[in-house]
Amino acid sequence: MVNDNEKLKALKEEYENIALPPELDDCIEKAMMKGKIEMSKIEIKRVDKRSNSSSNKWLKRFSGVAAVFIAFTISINTIPSFANTMYDVPGVGKLVQVLHFNRGTVEGGTVTDGTDVGFISLQQAKDEDKIIINFTKEDMPQDLANMYNISYSESPDTMIFTIPGARQFSAEKDFAALKKSEFVKDVYRIMTMDDSMIRFAVSFTGPVQYEVKEFKEPAQLVVSLKESPDTEKQQVYSVRSISLPYGENLGYMEEMLFSQEGLRILKDQEGTYLVEAGYYETEEKAQAKLQELVENTGLKDQLIIEQRSSDELPQYLEK
């Protein structure tokens, strides 16, 4: 018995000599980061739920969002490390650039591969909504934003995000939450033949004023949306493909029309998709474009002209 006790003691000594690896601290830090991300997601859901349950909407929204802001302002001034923790709050990192663009395309970010468009959250304030796009890799927030390309086009007002070098799109689950914004009509993923590229579109309920900011540490793209003074609706003539289901055919169609300047993939009213080569103010111009495209591609039965109002989503059309 005494002997056994000594053996146990020797074993205990051995146990205590199990060396703590240098990676241990790093591993604890990673675990906490992962926890923070998880908690921020839970927090977003809670705020969403609150602001949704009608009656005293404004007050509830205030207590949710503003309280977070107040707490945040206090914390960021007192605890430096706190700044890294609030991934759902836009602009906690360092500002990389403010992107001004009035219709058209902007690009930015850093070349990466295998990242994940990890999660997207919506933050609503009195008359401004913010869409916050977060980049992660293996659940860890990234320091630098992925390469991105954002284009804004009208008729219908749509912002298309293209993220090359991203292979995962965990944020797809957050689409429903984004639709809570009064500015957002729909959010949808756009198919791509490139498996290292993520694309998605946000279509707006009308013209919006927007501004995009890129942040680092953590990497975020923050899109601010404000109401835009109403512009007059107009009729446009769209040169487009017939409606296609989400899938390869859409990709082939896009490739056939690749050289077109106004090329975009849109979702129609029925939830199927189409490739639009461009839209024009007059039917003649649209006809001319259609002729040219049919001659160049031979896609006689798949290309059509659709007349629609600038605030309408394209219709479901088949030949």
Binding site: K7, L11, K12, E14, I18, L20, I28, G35, M39
Partner: protein, 173 residues
């Protein structure tokens, strides 16, 4: 020594307090995990999972005085989960074999060592907590969420099993 106040602050969401508590217990967490999987890589995975789980649920901890036993419970649960999920063959890392060879008591220790490794997860937990982590029976009862008497029974059975195994080794050797 960290106070109950630190635990209270961690429960309220103060991150620095949480990290301080984890740092205080990281040695125990890692060694317990290591005792189950016997290699650095898996032990780190277990610690990471445990810290993550602790982080997201610390707000729900009702009694601050139970922080340590609560944390150890999470580690053990994570280790047992990990073993069940991976069903990995437990092996000794080369560096540890080398270290063990330097140990003069290697022969007699290796017997008991092997015997402890052969215990099932519950009996192993009791031995680790009682003899390596020097925890009281009451604390072990809290960690494992068993009555104290059950802990005693397991401890007794574990010791008995170890002795039996030791004898077997002696007989065959």
């Amino acid at each position: 020594m960290l106070t109950q106040d630190t635990v209270k602050r961690a429960i309220e969401g103060d991150e620095d307090s949480f990290l301080a508590l984890i740092n205080e217990k990281k040695g125990s967490m890692y060694r317990i995990a290591y005792s189950y999987v016997k290699n650095k890589h898996d032990a780190l995975d277990i610690v990471q999972e445990a810290v993550y789980k602790a982080y997201i649920s610390v707000a729900k901890l009702k009694n601050p005085e139970n922080f340590n036993t609560w944390l150890i419970r999470i580690v053990i649960n994570c280790a047992v989960d990990y073993l069940r999920k991976t069903k990995k063959i437990i092996y000794l890392e080369q560096e540890n074999l080398e270290k063990a060879e330097e140990n003069k008591n290697i022969e007699q220790n290796m017997d008991l060592h092997a015997a402890i490794d052969n215990l099932d997860t519950k009996h192993k937990a009791v031995i680790i907590l009682r003899y390596f982590e020097d925890m009281t029976l009451q604390d072990i009862a809290q960690v494992l969420e068993w009555p104290v008497n059950t802990v005693k029974t397991y401890l007794y059975r574990a010791l008995k099993q170890l002795k039996i195994k030791l004898e077997e080794v002696e007989l065959s050797g």
